[in-house]
Symmetry: C2
Subunit: 135 residues, 2 copies
DNA sequence: AGTGTAGTTTGACGATCGCCGTACTAATTC
DNA sequence: GAATTAGTACGGCGATCGTCAAACTACACT
């Protein structure tokens, strides 16, 4: 495990006009039509990735990778976000030093109507049943 | 988890010989409460297993393993059915020389309301999009 | 320029996966 | 009892998975 300093706080700087934009590196995303159900199910079958998706679903805005504070190393975190992006579950863009993440709700709902909501509801129900234990 | 071994004796009572009943060997199934969302999603993320589940969902009666005719070997077929059983997606019983399979709809619907239907609908939709490809 | 922050890349590791063939067990039928 | 049918157990193989540490790149802010 790494020690991740648990920031969890909002940025105080306003970054007004010079808001960092998507720059430099580009990320590959599958087109909507290329998203495959089996890849999405596989992506969601990992507890870490499910956790990311659930957190993303609760927020309306984009979240940087660093706010998630997963109990794995940085490189593993990178790996999980990449899996989620490459299978079409999330959208990622660089913004300054951060990499912002958002659920591809529209695409997923268009391809698999109601699926994401049911998965999220199922995860919440199970967490209730099992008391948040992930063992 | 398996390796139940020593099913040993426990002979079945000879019933009316015209209809084979569940007999001899016993199969372990997880209790409803023990079914985990991540295991179900993982099970469904394999094309062969998804195919089995979709076929099972279309039928109202039990189906033997042999009617599926998956494009893999017998031992691989056994493997996939076992995965589906051990994660709680299907129920299996021996009936004579055959092993009958049924979806655990009630359990899945109780634990994860609407999830199975959405997954099945998503699979059907994707099959439509991608043309008859089912694997 | 220097320091710090955020995330990537590489290579490795053990575990698991999907797959196979062979040999086996169990129930039914001849 | 022998043959048949249906499925299992036992490795084994190559691929993928989740994980890590170490070294690296890219941007921001002194």
């Amino acid at each position: 495990m790494q020690t991740q300093t648990t920031p969890t706080v909002s940025r105080s700087q306003p970054q007004a006009s010079s808001q960092p934009q998507a720059s430099g590196r580009s990320l590959e995303h599958p087109r909507r039509e290329a998203i495959r159900l089996e890849d999405v199910l596989h992506a969601l079958s990992d507890p870490m990735r499910m956790r990311v998706v659930r957190t993303l679903a609760e927020e309306t805005c984009e979240l940087s990778c660093s706010v998630f504070d997963l109990p794995v190393s940085k490189s593993t975190t990178t790996h999980h976000f990449r899996v989620l992006r490459e299978c079409g579950v999330i959208h990622q863009i660089y913004r300054g030093t951060a990499k912002m993440n958002a659920l591809r709700r529209d695409d997923l709902d268009a391809l698999f109507p109601g699926l994401l909501d049911r998965v999220l509801a199922a995860a919440a129900l199970q967490e209730g049943r099992l008391g948040g234990d992930r063992g």
